[in-house]
């Protein structure tokens, strides 16, 4: 099947996750090979997703872990884990 640009945009997420049906995947790849616009859309989407997965985007508050484990210490020393 010959896909147009919109068909390809609609499938970008599944294409990135590798969950497209093999025949559809082949159609998408055929379109991408000849379409500069869709290639740029795919590359930039992929790039944005790689960037947002980086731990530097959201840093944990300073001493978050220290406060968490101090609070846990207080609870662990006084309570057994519940049985419900």
């Amino acid at each position: 099947m010959v896909l147009n640009c919109r068909h390809v945009w609609d499938r970008i997420s599944d294409y990135m996750d590798g969950t497209l049906d093999p025949a559809v995947r082949a159609d998408v790849e055929r379109h991408l090979a000849g379409c500069e616009i869709c290639s740029a859309v795919l590359d930039s989407t992929r790039n944005v997703i790689v960037l947002i997965a980086d731990d530097r985007v959201f840093e944990l508050p300073v001493d978050y872990s220290k406060r968490l484990h101090a609070r846990l210490d207080a609870v662990l020393s006084s309570e057994a884990p519940g049985q419900h």
Binding site: R6, W9, D10, I12, S13, D14, M16, D17, T19, E36, I37, A40, V41, D43, S44, T45, N47, V48, I49, V50, L51, I52, A53, D54, D55, R56, V57, F58, L60, P61, Y64, S65, R67, L68, H69, R71, L72, V75, L76, S77, E79, A80, P81, G82, Q83, H84
Partner: protein, 218 residues
Amino acid sequence: MTAQQITAELRQERETALIAAILNGEREKFHDLIRPYERQVFLTALALVKNETEAEDIAQEAILRAYRKLASFRGAAKFSTWLTAITLNEARTRLREEKRAAFDSLDGNDPEKGDFTPAVLIDWREVPLEALERQEVRALMQQAIAELPDAFRQVVVLRDMEEMSVNDTAEALGISVALVKVRLHRARLLLQKKLAPQLRRAVKPKRKAGILGRLPWF
């Protein structure tokens, strides 16, 4: 079996042993059980409340709740999925108590429906991870994520930031796999549309390092 599956299986065995030990009285081991998930719990809470102080508070409460109901963890789900579901519940309860909407309505201007046009940038250049060293670039990304509709942000945080599978994301959120896929797709394209042009402006390609570029006064 892939290396990834082996790692996942080893992690699960380790967690099962830790949980058994904790329930048997070695309470201190709960610290070790929770340590790999501290960041995930915080991000999950932040996806709902969008405020760091509140997200930290929710993260602490969710982790304490997980300790208190540890015996009810049956191992049917992954520990991480179970913990994420507890965190989402904790955050939703908090939002309800404060009478803030836990989900913004997707009616009206429904971003799950209709055609969508991404940002079309022929001259796109890949933004390297090093760009995240810059506060300005991090702020752009944080803002774009915060501006996503709530239901989309939750999916993208679990799937793309915490790198959970689509199935685990669906299980933690209590929605179908199909809905996770639809929301994930829209969220990714919304992020592309917003961020691709902004990042292109913020991260200009380096000038070619000719002889002039290497001289300190140029």
